[in-house]
């Protein structure tokens, strides 16, 4: 336990004392939020408004405002999902530095069992990721309140924090395996570039899942991003959806949930929230097992 705590302390210290890394993590998150709020966030608004206008007497000024807020939160839900992957990616760049600087050998030579070592790295990346995602949530709320939205209910906050914890766990585990395999700083930066480019698509953030082709939808469902973003959206948008779809036929809400990626379908059957949670937990656990196996087996060859 002492070793585990010490590994966490070291890794978190290395990440949070590298002020430029923390600053740029926050800056990239802010840039995406600002871009979404001022330029891209409204692209889905007209479709939503058309759907609401199908109900007689609806589609007035208050619905327009609600839809704008809906789009903002929808975007922020996606950002919270990919933020977990980008922060943990940045976090593990220290592990790559450790390897290239011979530091990893100095850690491996300590009497620490490999699973403790793996869990120590994964948990510290998880803590850093959770902290940064909670900051994202706080920034989202502040911008939302400035835009005139109500503060989210306490229940939503609790659910969001639990989701942040789950989602960050997945990327802490996935990124650890990648960081164990990748040998150079430039290759790790390459992974970062690919991640930054693809995560937005794979999470259905740049454009909604329902607007993707069938083939693309199948590809997207092979990655964990979409399960996280669907859960975040379900939780974050639930209060505003209750307002928006009040008095509208159920079919409008379910169609919006399908197209906008709140609800996921495997074939014709709708994936429950519990199933998405199960998939994310499974991905995290599988990657931790793979990482431990990789570290144990790679020693037999060479590092």
């Amino acid at each position: 336990m002492r070793s585990f705590t010490a590994i966490n302390k070291r890794n978190l210290g290395l990440y949070f004392r590298d002020y430029s890394a923390v600053f740029f993590s926050l800056l990239s998150m802010l840039i995406i939020i600002i871009l979404m709020v001022f330029f891209l966030g409204d692209i889905n608004n007209s479709d939503l408004l058309d759907a609401i206008k199908m109900v007689p007497g609806r589609g007035g000024e208050s619905d327009v405002t609600t839809i704008k807020n809906f789009s903002f939160l929808w975007t922020c839900a996606g950002i919270m999902t990919i933020n977990a992957s980008t922060v943990t990616h940045a976090f593990y760049s220290n592990m790559i530095k450790d390897r290239t600087g011979n530091r990893l050998n100095s850690l491996f030579v300590m009497p620490v069992k490999r699973p403790v070592f793996v869990l120590g790295y994964v948990s510290s990346a998880w803590i850093a990721g959770v902290i940064m995602c909670v900051i994202t949530l706080i920034v989202t709320e502040i911008i939302g309140v400035i835009k005139g939205m109500d503060i989210l209910p306490v229940k939503t906050h609790i659910e969001l924090i639990l989701l942040i914890m789950l989602n960050t766990f997945v990327y802490s585990a996935v990124m650890f395996l990648l960081a164990s395999i990748i040998k150079s700083q430039s290759a790790w930066s390459g992974i970062g570039i690919i991640l930054g480019t693809l995560a937005g698509f794979l999470g259905g953030i740049y454009f909604p899942l329902g607007q993707m082709s069938d083939g693309m939808q199948k590809v997207v469902k092979c990655f964990p991003f979409i399960y996280g973003s669907s859960l975040f959206r379900k939780v974050l948008l639930n209060p505003i959806e209750n307002t928006l779809f009040e008095g509208t036929p159920e079919v409008i809400r379910s169609e919006v949930d399908r197209v906008m990626g709140m609800n996921l379908f495997l074939g014709d059957s709708r994936l429950s929230g519990g199933a998405s949670v199960g998939i994310l937990i499974a991905v995290g656990v599988i990657f931790i097992i793979f990482s431990t196996m990789y570290l144990t087996l790679s020693k037999k060859k060479d590092r």
Partner: protein, 306 residues
């Protein structure tokens, strides 16, 4: 009976068809200071990495402090400390933070860490820099910190993998003074890899490897006797040159500005030669063969044999 601290039997590490370490066998007693010499790429670091459980050997066996390598690796890790050629402590932490955090990773409790750090900071002269950021330290200060951390859990064996490479001569001396002081106070085995031959001069035993194979083993004196010649420096004026060459032979004298030099197999033979020149020369000095000569002669004879 003294316990062997390190025992290697035919230890081998292959990378494809290349044998980085080739059937290496040797033994070290607890408390020994062993110099493990070889040129760059000879297999020194690969051997240290195998003995410190970082690399798995492809053949042979090894016992470290009585524990079997590959089977009791956790016990081995508890018994050894390693100082690497490159610094491994973290630049963003202070010296104290670095050592305390890593010592906790080793499983040490706070009281042991405090006591041990107090002792080591005294021996290694760290008290002034304890709260300084590691990246702000000089090369020599960093090395002393690395050694301090490697010794926090009082290991039975200290591996020093080229610990002074890239350091200036004064810093090298200060690092060696610290290691010497530690050796005097403990019964710790020191396993030093280096390509600075003179650093191995004070070792109890020297092992020279070339291309992964052991090519020589013995005390510095034995190796010098076998592989390095002593030289006799003779001081005389130009007028005496013909007399000197008449006595010792023209072919044997290498002329210099101060007189000449004669190679000799051992100091007694050199003394006998000098005795013959009493009254002819102004003075003489017997220069003992150097470890550099040993190393060059060993590796050259191997190259020639190949």
């Amino acid at each position: 009976m003294d316990m062997n601290s390190i025992e290697l039997k035919n230890l081998t590490k292959r990378y494809g068809s290349f044998n980085a370490v080739d059937n290496l066998s040797f033994e070290m007693k607890q408390g020994d200071f062993v110099g493990f010499l070889g040129v760059n790429g000879a297999g020194k670091s690969t051997t240290v990495n195998m003995l410190s459980t970082i690399l798995t050997p492809d053949g042979g066996s090894a016992n470290i402090c009585g524990y079997a390598l590959g089977k009791e690796d956790m016990d081995i890790r508890r018994s050894i400390g390693v100082v690497y050629q490159s610094n491994v402590l973290d630049d963003l932490f202070t010296v104290k933070e670095n050592i305390v955090t890593r010592s906790k990773m080793l499983g040490l409790d706070s009281k042991t860490i405090k006591d041990r750090l107090f002792d080591l900071s005294d021996i290694l002269n760290l008290s002034d820099i304890m709260n300084k950021r590691y990246r702000l330290l000089s090369g020599g200060q960093k090395r002393r910190c690395e050694i301090a951390f490697a010794l926090m859990h009082s290991p039975k064996i200290l591996f020093l993998d080229e610990p002074t490479t890239g350091l200036d001569p004064a810093t090298r001396v200060s690092v060696w003074d610290a290691v010497e002081l530690l050796r005097k106070n403990t019964d710790m085995t020191v396993f030093l890899t280096t390509h600075y031959m003179e650093e191995a001069q004070s070792a109890d035993k020297i092992i020279i490897i070339n291309k992964g194979k052991k090519v020589a083993e013995g005390t510095p004196f034995e190796l010098k006797e076998k592989f390095a010649k002593d030289s006799l420096k003779l001081y005389f004026g130009e007028k005496r040159r013909s007399e000197v060459t008449d006595i010792i032979g023209k072919d044997k004298l290498i002329s210099t500005s101060y007189g000449g030099v004669v190679e000799s197999n051992n100091p007694f033979a050199a003394a006998k030669t000098a005795e013959k020149l009493v009254g002819v020369i102004d003075g003489f000095e017997i220069i003992q063969g150097k470890m550099d000569d040993v190393f060059l002669n060993v590796t050259r004879s191997i190259e020639a044999a190949i």
